[in-house]
Symmetry: C2
Subunit: 643 residues, 2 copies
């Protein structure tokens, strides 16, 4: 059953939203002016681009790497989005050159992968678990769709269609086909995008096949390894894999059929990409069992295994999940890509069921765990996003495994789509930022103008502009979960929020006309946040949040005392102050903490005199902005002095 797509709620196109704010617009500009050119340069200098010429010879350095297409594809995707909202002939030309190289690298049968064309030409599809072949194909498909949507040019779309067509001949349940799927999920969600862009259901079916086949017995990856009878990629990275088969099945979520999975396990980015595809399929084909599986996994993730920042995957060992409530701060992995993946998944869940809980998590990850991944100057990146640091964690310019920087770039370059959704009868506003959106509701074109200082202030003014004739439809406005006393006015008249609030959204159904004004007041009280008592790392601690922004302490603001020694009294008032010159303009929180008076300490390691505490000033800055000044300590969870 394919759903009727006319009545359903869809995200707006990413280029329908124009940012005119001081928070996102400068960041998107940075991505355009700094990150995208810099990433191209990195792809070029490291040999990734030129490898597409397929002229590599054995013995030559560098050897093309199995990941390389994914980096190029994510750069292409980000560059395409950027071109759509900010035409740039030079970038357009550069993109066309790379697309031509990709087209030239495609084989006659549609296959497109440098490594398995020039380095190991006889070994296509022999190591699905680790060789990332379908993963790279997925990113190429996403790039092809983005390039087409952004520029209208079909060349790359056609390249990836031919590749997808080839893949559809190789994989499936028909005789002679491989019953495999990728060890690093990604192609599943890409194929749904390709279906949406082309209308060709074969791509939807192929995605369904990959999702349905996963986790069935006999386990494909183990069969494949036996048949191949060579060690395969990463055999040295995971020497214990044979002894711990169950654990390594979980690593790539292939331990059980997806509809039987109830816990988020394994590699976090892989999990997110897979869950995205599951939510997409649930929506496109109305598959209730997949939707229920998504909902179970979502509940598990967000109530047991997610950092306050929206970071996920606490362990470096598997770049992924460990056990419930195991959320260490200093050793947190919380890969940037995983937080990006959570935004992707939350967005899809929101379109299965427009519940503010999904948008709350999306917003949490976006403003915190994602944004911390990129420096204020757009040039340095965190791969790993700890919630505490002794001072030795810093952003780097580029990574050998370069997944995170282009992932942030493609997210920020297409950010508009996360702000609004629309259907024939409804307009939904999920996020707030100054700017303009071109929408289609009730058969009418509508321009909405937002004015706000979000995320620093919760006053939002929405004006309906350019609505040709008065039209009756519903507007839903998200009331963020962090906001306890919201107020809404339409043309100056108060809306009964309590009565019209449902699943985190206030609904206002009326006949709208041009010039109508909606005003939201979302008071941003400073909130003290406590973690579930089973989270050992946060016991006795408190975190600070204001609006969607999670705060942290940095050493540079507390030179006289190590951060772990600060105790924030439970009744200590805190003030929020906007500092235009601090960290590109942020609201910082100020107050007073207690710290052990070390001068009064008797020099002993242990003492039975209660510590003598003295007041010391406390300053908290947004978590995303840490490590942009003098290097030093950082921590999100502060000891609370409960007196």
């Amino acid at each position: 059953m394919i759903h009727d797509s006319r009545s359903r709620l869809d995200p707006v196109a990413f280029d329908a939203v124009h940012f005119a704010d001081t928070f996102w617009a400068p960041r998107i500009k940075l991505v355009r002016e700094q990150t995208i050119p810099f990433q191209y340069q990195q792809c070029k200098e490291t040999g990734r681009i030129d490898a597409l010429r397929l002229d590599w010879k054995p013995g030559q350095e560098p050897v093309p790497h199995i990941f390389w297409e994914s980096d190029i594809a994510k750069w292409l995707e980000a560059a395409s989005y950027s071109l759509a909202v900010h035409p740039d002939p030079e970038l357009d030309d550069l993109v066309d050159q790379v697309v031509a190289l990709l087209a030239g690298a495609q084989q006659h049968d549609g296959y497109l992968n440098v490594y398995f064309t020039v380095v190991e030409p006889g070994c296509r599809w022999t190591d699905l678990r680790d060789a990332h072949e379908l993963y790279c194909a997925g990113h190429l498909i996403e790039a092809g769709v983005a390039h087409f949507q952004a520029t209208g040019k079909r060349q790359l779309l056609e390249v990836v269609q031919r590749y997808a067509d080839h893949i559809a001949t190789v994989f499936g349940q028909d005789p002679g086909q491989k019953r495999g799927y990728c060890g690093h999920e990604e192609i599943e969600l890409a194929l749904v995008k390709l279906y949406r862009a082309t209308g060709s259901e074969k791509y939807l079916r192929l995605s369904q096949y990959f999702v349905d086949e996963r986790g069935r017995k006999p386990f494909y990856f183990e069969q494949e390894a036996e048949e191949r009878a060579t060690p395969g990629f990463f055999s040295t990275m995971f020497p214990e894999r044979e002894q711990e088969r169950a654990k390594f099945r979980e690593y790539n979520q292939s331990h059980l059929p997806m509809r039987e999975q109830t816990e988020v396990v394994g590699h976090a980015v892989r999990a997110m990409y897979l869950y995205c595809a599951m939510a997409d399929l649930a929506r496109e084909v109305g598959d209730v069992s997949l939707a229920q599986a998504c909902e179970r996994l979502w509940q598990h993730l967000t109530t047991k295994r997610m950092y306050l920042t929206g970071g996920i995957g606490s362990s470096r060992a598997n770049e992924g999940f460990t056990s419930d409530y195991d959320l260490p701060n200093e050793s947190a992995y919380a890969e940037t890509c995983a937080a990006v993946g959570l935004v992707f998944w939350a967005h899809r869940m929101l379109h299965l069921d427009c519940d503010g809980h999904y948008a709350d998590v999306l917003e949490r990850a976006l403003y915190n765990g994602v944004l911390s991944g990129i420096s204020l100057d757009g040039k340095r990146f965190f791969y790993v996003n700890p919630l505490a640091s002794a001072g030795d964690a810093h952003r780097y310019e580029w990574f050998g495994c370069a997944c995170c920087p282009p992932n942030i770039a493609r997210l920020l370059s297409s950010l508009g789509q996360y702000f609004y959704s629309q259907s024939a009868s409804e307009l939904v506003v999920h996020l707030y930022a100054s700017g303009q959106a071109q929408l289609q509701v009730g058969g009418q074109a509508l321009t909405v103008q937002q004015t706000t200082s979000y995320p620093w202030d919760g006053a939002v003014r929405l004006v309906a502009e350019q609505l040709a004739e008065p039209t009756t439809f519903n507007i839903k406005l998200r009331i963020p979960g962090w906001c306890s006393e919201p107020a809404v006015r339409v043309n100056g008249a108060a809306v009964n929020v309590a009565a019209s609030l449902k699943k985190g959204y206030v609904s206002i159904e009326r006949t709208w006309q041009a010039g109508d004004v909606i005003e939201l007041e979302l008071p941003m009280a400073i909130k003290r946040v406590y973690a579930h008592p089973a989270v050992e790392a946060d016991q006795g601690c408190v975190a600070l949040q204001r609006g969607p922004i999670v705060y942290c302490l940095e050493g540079v603001d507390h030179a006289s005392v190590p951060l772990q020694e600060l105790e924030l009294p439970v009744s200590q008032p805190l003030q929020a102050t906007f500092h235009p010159d601090l960290l590109d303009g942020v609201v910082a929180l100020h107050g007073s903490a207690l710290a052990t008076n070390q001068a009064a300490w008797d020099g002993q390691l242990y003492t039975s005199r209660p510590p003598d505490m003295q007041e010391t000033p406390l300053t908290a800055i947004p978590y995303y902005a840490w490590d942009n000044r003098q290097p030093g300590e950082m921590r999100v969870w502060i000891h609370e002095h409960r007196s």
Copy 2:
């Protein structure tokens, strides 16, 4: 310069003290009846004993291990001590058999090491860093001295003298001698014991040589490895050793000459044994620079790197020290042998300078970090002594590397020597337990009868018995550092403690006669203990101590709430109650803690409502006695609710 030994303070002989208490006497009996026979059986069953027959042939299993003599030697040492205080013809006979086997294994030149006689016969002294050859020799020497002192039999003493004589020909600064020293210190302190037992200064000189040579450039172990040009022992265990030379020099304290060392570093047991020898040498030859080095290292250890239990060496990676204040609880290594070594070192420091601070640390380690190493039934052992456990740490019956069980056995079998010291003019009482001691003070034989319920009660009664004639001498009684309001009476008359307390001891000089009674009152208030604020693991936490006993919480007493969720209010009164049937009779602490009301928790991972706390009963038991009931969680440091 050799000191005049007549005027100096010496520990009493271990067999001069007879325990008649309910704390130590049953433990010493357990060691005698359980641990010593069990350890012999283990040495026998694992092939350690029979390997002394030197009939091993290549290909035969088990292959004699380089550590084996040390296990046999520590058993011999413990068995000898036991024989001295509790004659046992059967054990005496068994000891004689093992001594005869050792004598038979000795080579014509005096060399005595099974591994390098039968397994790698050409490789003597080629891997001093890792092969433990001089380490094993040291334990044999300690066993030879103990056997002689305990039984008067000279056979083993003569064997180890011949071995030491041989070693003295191999090592030294003369032409043709090796300028080496052992990677695992031990022989240095053993040679001082051999000197004291035989009066032969050559052993003292050899010990001096080993201590003085250590850390000189060029670094012997690196030269040795180059000359040997084979990987050596443990090359696979430390593959990074070549890249991290500085770190691995610290591992065995050979990075600097000992007089230049100011920080305790590297493998904790090795450090302790070396510092013991340094303190011994400082005392025997009046070497002030060595005494100063000891004092610096002591200060560093006890103010920066020691657990509350007297456990030392926080890291499993090097079985040793890391950085200042790095004292994690659950991952604490705190090897039992290291705590035993700390007792040894503290005892020697106390005889360089009779300062209660040394005795306080000795007592802390003895009643806590050492005693935790052995189960109440004397059959199971902790090698590693964490200060918190999720429930997965339990004592084992035996270890492949079997250093800890016999180390506890030899300490407890010779415990008497730690209780009293004596000189021509002074009697010092360091520790308290019911029993009788045969002393020599002022040229007079004196018997002291102690009566006390220590460590459960601080009332101590000392009666001078069998003093032939009234004699003037000084009696010093230790006032433990944990005791804030001590009282002392002589024959019922109060002593002015404030006036006569110096360096932790009350001095009473008078003419003593038989029947004189000293009464001490050492009130055992329950103390809340706080760690230095730089100890991150203990921030916001409190530990409980009463008398010398450090307490912990166990899961079995708190079934309804995980221990990490308990918060002890700062003003919560606690009661101490003796339970004769609990854990062989202990004082437990009882009170009330707060815990998050999980029923009232809203199911969210994060919330901005302060946790709703409810009262829950709290029971703390002595740390040493944990893991003797139902397995489960344990923690020493409890979150403190500071309200």
